[in-house]
């Protein structure tokens, strides 16, 4: 079974049924499967802060949301994470492609990679770094933890996790 399928299975198993996505090459497989998964309402968004708004609304409407995005977008979501998701105490699992790590071909991606963990630390967001393919086995526990804690959590998935470089 592909890693992408394992991620989606983990989400579905833990009753995540509303997913918003902003694409990344590394996440293309997950997004494709999400779009075909009948248990999940997939609402693509144009920007990640908009997506977090959709997730907040879906949560208050009784659904279990998740956002799938690239780490470069963390910069544009800092205010939304602080003043919406954290301030109102809402759960939000974030599955994030960790561009700019070993194997990266685009130098500019490194510029946000160096800030990624620092931003998450500064925001006091519990962060799980998936580096080896087997790390995917933790996804269920992380989703469960996120909805228990009513906080955002970040899963950073780097190039090595997605099959090497």
């Amino acid at each position: 079974m592909s890693i992408s399928q394992k991620i989606v299975d983990g989400l579905v198993e833990h009753k995540v049924n509303f997913v918003t996505t902003v694409p990344c090459k590394q996440l293309a497989g997950v997004i494709e499967i999400i779009d075909k998964t009948p248990e999940v309402l997939h609402v693509p968004s144009n920007k990640e802060d908009e997506g977090m708004g959709l997730c907040a609304g879906a949560w208050m409407g009784g659904m279990r949301p998740c956002i799938i995005m690239q780490n470069t977008a963390l910069g544009v979501t800092v205010n939304t994470l602080a003043t919406l998701i954290q301030f109102y105490q809402m759960p939000l699992p974030m599955i994030i492609s960790y561009r700019g790590e070993l194997g990266e071909r685009v130098a500019c991606q490194v510029e946000m990679a160096v800030h990624t963990k620092a931003l998450l630390d500064q925001l006091h967001i519990q962060t799980y770094h998936f580096h080896k393919p087997d790390d995917v086995e933790e996804i269920g526990a992380i989703i469960k933890h996120t909805f228990m804690s009513r906080k955002p959590t970040a899963i950073l998935t780097d190039s090595n996790f997605w099959g090497g470089y």
């Binding site: 959709l54 949560w59 602080a82």
Partner: protein, 187 residues
């Protein structure tokens, strides 16, 4: 008419509806005039009222009114294609378009100059966009509430504010109260 006067005409219609209200003075005015558990007040995060409203409308069956402003829609213009392409028949987006950033000192927005938000919404693919004068907003809202079609209302009103107290309620309390109400109405 200024925004608070438009609110006065709307309250008999929206008091018993699920309302997601924009940050700053709009939320403070609604809270002062007609605080309800069915109101979700945004205390931060400019621009996301329409996104939260759409997410809520897609997630459950009750009607949802998102009250937004022209400045806030401009800051999150990407919301309009998302709304157009994920239509929720229970969703009404009311854009109070007073051509200014009311909460920050009435600086002019581009919506008060050359940009038509109604035409932007139409160009984004929204099917049922109605621009109206402030005085007609209640009538248009009444029809939208009776109908079964997603509606975008652009209410053209005057710029201006009334003195209002800040909202003292804690954010998680606003959320909890609102979620209980959503749950009760969907039971």
């Amino acid at each position: 008419m200024i925004r608070s006067e438009v609110f006065k005409t709307l309250i008999p219609l929206i008091s018993d509806q699920l309302v997601v209200c924009n940050i700053g003075l709009p939320s403070q005015e609604l809270h002062m005039m007609d605080d309800q558990p069915s109101n979700f007040y945004m205390l931060g995060t400019m621009g996301l009222a329409s996104s939260i409203g759409l997410g809520l409308a897609l997630a459950q069956k009750q009607k949802v009114i998102a009250i937004d402003g022209d400045g806030s829609v401009l800051t999150n213009l990407g919301t309009l294609p998302t709304i157009a392409n994920n239509p929720a028949s229970n969703f009404i987006l009311l854009i109070i378009d007073n051509g200014s950033y009311g909460s920050t000192g009435d600086q002019p927005t581009y919506a008060g100059r050359k940009t038509s938000l109604a035409r932007v919404a139409e160009a984004c693919g929204c099917d049922n966009v109605i621009e109206c004068k402030a005085e007609d907003t209640a009538k248009v809202m009444e029809a939208a509430l009776k109908g079964d079609q997603m509606t975008i209302i652009v209410c053209k009103c005057k710029s201006g504010n009334v003195p209002v107290p800040v909202i003292e309620m804690d954010a998680p309390v606003i959320k909890h109260r609102f979620m209980q109400e959503v749950k009760r109405r969907n039971a």
